[in-house]
Subunit: 323 residues, 2 copies
């Protein structure tokens, strides 16, 4: 047992045993195979299939400058104190060139790098958003199979892409900070509706009270049934409020339908397939040739046909076949 | 002719005459009818249909804090000096509650408010993004019919929503500013690929050279055939560089296929219908009941079927009909 481990193939039953025990080298290799869409990627997916659905997936979203990376780092520390094994996926949809470490990876690497209970991976866009979302879901599944109790999904920014990726998570934490200015507050408003937990980081700032109030007001407008979205204060640099944040995430997970976690991989896949189908439909319709579609466009322009009816017609596979 | 004008209905031939002559009161009313989806909105659309396709649509996108509103204001001033009639649509996809004046509307109102050649309208999200994009296209068409030579589309932020809305424009101007920090630069990277003209505003800052260099480098990575995207420097507060910006926008429009402008309303409609169809497909597939879709999801999870094939299957109207 002290000899170095042989490199196994994902087809080997021992390989999946190692992965499921949380072996980091095996996990790293599995992710690389999937990322590179290697021939053996399919073997990885087949092997992990019976083992996914255990991890809680927690998303962190927020505008640049709110201290998100430091906060995630402090949260990881708290999870470790509670004996949880952690996977972190840092996703940057806006950066097509990164490929290396992004966001606060270096901070985390230096603090948790020696800890076998923490595994960090960065994903950057290698083309279109759909590809990145799929890759993220695949990596979540692999980490889930590899005995991570919690998988953290951290995205940079607050755009539509980030919202799409955050949608993979069971619990979505939206992070803000005091005094970022009105325009930035407005940008953030769009992601409030996806928040399960709201955090005002840098809460030692004198402007924190005002930000908390603004968020509570905004929440009031987007009220949802069932779960009361808490607005928490943290100072990530000192660890203040991190235990409360961790408790709130646990509480949110606890009130979810128990089937939600086990069914999560299939539910994520459902969304991915629906998204891919939507993109296919869009591409096909935008490329339609011939007079039928032009006539349909003119009818909508004139207000004779409404958008949804036109869309339904165009969606039919036989539409626009004539030339 | 000195008596106050009677309020006409869009069904009245005089109404469309007034609108096409650029009468502001008629334009304002037409937009309100469309915004409120009033019963007479259809009459408006029918009336304007033969009169759209003249205006050049110019989009301005950029992160908060780059001075976009001041820049747009200076650009409006330059267009007016050149004798152009201008329509401005300020769109805020992130704010569901606005409804009133957003962005730099107040600046513009005070400077150009008395000028009959400038017409400004704000649009905020009244629900989902698709609805906002449609509304924006409708308002572009009405302004186009109402003798606007240039319709400016200004969006707040740089998210996917802003990119979708900017896609309506013939010419897309992406605005940035020096010294906004690496993270914000990264956020901006995602919208570089849509830019026809790049502007570094606040170019009197000592950091401007560095920002121009970074943008040129980034452009190099996303090179496109045909049009060479210029990187321009402006100081919107003093008017420096505004004439050059206006020239660059004219130059970009001049090299477009002449049919692109006349066909623009139909092209915009094509995209809208395709987008609506994509949303319909997504909604239907996410809601599919029964074992067939679950089995398909599992097959993709195991890597037996790829996403695109699964999406194609799910997209078929007969898929998942059994219970």
């Amino acid at each position: 047992m002290t000899t170095p481990k042989a490199r196994l193939s994902p087809d080997d039953p021992q390989w999946i045993e190692r992965l499921c025990s949380g072996d980091r080298a095996t996990l790293a290799r599995a992710i690389t195979l999937i990322e590179n869409e290697a021939a053996s990627a399919q073997a990885v997916l087949r092997a992990i299939f019976p083992h996914v659905g255990h991890a809680q997936v927690v998303g962190f979203t927020g505008a640049p400058g709110v201290g998100k990376s430091t906060l995630v780092n402090a949260y990881i520390g708290e999870l470790r104190r509670r004996g949880k094994r952690v996977g972190v996926i840092a996703v940057d949809p806006s950066s097509p060139v990164s490929g290396g470490a992004i966001l606060g990876d270096r901070i985390r690497m230096s603090e948790h790098g020696a800890d076998p209970g923490v595994f960090v991976r960065s994903l950057a866009s290698r083309g279109h958003l759909g590809g990145l979302t799929r890759m993220t879901v695949r990596v979540v599944d692999v980490m889930d199979a590899a005995a991570r109790d919690v998988v953290i999904l951290e995205t940079v920014g607050t755009g539509q892409s980030e919202v799409e990726i955050a949608g993979i998570a069971h619990t979505k934490v939206v992070v803000s900070a005091p005094g970022l200015g009105d325009e930035i507050q407005a940008v953030k408003a769009g992601i409030l509706e996806i928040a399960d937990v709201l955090v005002v980081n840098k809460a030692d700032s004198p402007l924190a009270d005002q930000t908390v109030r603004q968020l509570r007001d905004a929440l009031h407008l987007t009220k949802r049934p069932g779960w009361q979205v808490p607005v928490l204060r943290t100072v990530a640099t000192t660890g203040e409020g991190i235990a409360e944040l961790t408790d709130a995430i646990v509480a949110h997970a606890a009130q979810l339908d128990p089937s939600a976690r086990e069914g999560a991989p299939r539910l994520r896949m459902r969304r991915l397939i629906a998204a891919a189908a939507a993109r296919q439909a869009r591409r096909r319709i935008e490329g339609l040739q011939g007079g039928a579609f032009d006539a349909l466009c003119d009818a909508v322009l004139k207000g004779e046909v409404d958008f949804e009816t036109a869309a339904q017609q165009a969606l039919h596979p036989d539409f626009g076949d004539e030339t």
